[in-house]
Symmetry: C2
């Protein structure tokens, strides 16, 4: 017997918009994380690689701020990306405390494939909405992000 559909959420839960947001977001993010995992990658690693892949000279401190994570945590994420041979760390000539992050040739080559996964995930889940509905959803989410000053790049 599958009880998943027979047990409904308590009424109070469903009344919250936050409930629906979390339901949908966790489902979509979870599926995306699973797809990345097949490539041996976490969401945080994917976000970091994307940032570094832009070519902009980034430092671990920049990344930590942008992703809302501690420097210690970022350090480990970078270790994994470096172990995969996708990024390099180089001491800044201007300030030798600073590490400059850059994608390797391999890293640059890997990014398009990963982007395809992200595109596919988005298309799979939001393709069911019309262009107008997608635009509306984007507008509402952006509005919430703007009003509440959400500018960390989510990596959970």
């Amino acid at each position: 017997m599958d009880n998943a559909t027979s047990v409904q959420p308590a009424p109070v839960l469903e009344t919250h918009l936050g409930y629906w947001l979390r339901l949908v977001s966790n489902h979509i993010s979870g599926e995306f994380a699973r797809a990345l995992q097949e490539q041996g990658l976490s969401v945080a690693e994917w976000v970091a690689l994307n940032q570094i892949g832009r070519g902009t000279a980034l430092t671990p401190a920049n990344l930590a701020d942008a992703m809302g994570m501690t420097r210690g945590a970022i350090s480990k994420v970078l270790d994994k990306l470096q172990l995969k041979g996708w990024i390099s760390r180089a001491t800044s000539p201007e300030d030798s405390r600073v590490q400059l992050l850059a994608p390797t040739r391999q890293g640059k080559r890997a990014l398009p494939e990963l982007t395809t996964i992200a595109d596919g995930n988005d298309e799979h889940f939001f393709g069911a909405l019309s262009a107008t509905e997608r635009a509306t959803l984007r507008k509402l989410l952006k509005k919430l992000a703007d009003i509440h000053q959400m500018h960390n790049i989510p990596a959970e």
Copy 2:
């Protein structure tokens, strides 16, 4: 210097609706989780207590299915709720393998306070939208949940 606003997400990230959904959802859920944490409660515990608090005879297996977690994980969540004195476990008279979950008097008394926290969180974040916008957002999220058959109660 605060780099959080100076480091922008790579363009490819922003194009995904999933990005905005994750940004907003993680922010709101994170704030809610923090508020619950002040009461010494995790989101999973709160969801479980809500389900049990309905009064419907629930079992750990029901909860595991409903919340998309393993029975082992649910068992630990229930341990914590029981330790707080908010739920009771009783062997079912019909099948002594089954444990029937029920809220204690204390648990029933705690729920309204916790609901107030959830209400406040929702109001804080979505109050910035008009009633029409909230209705639209709810409709779109429900549509996505419906189309993709998302019926687990999110507890991350």
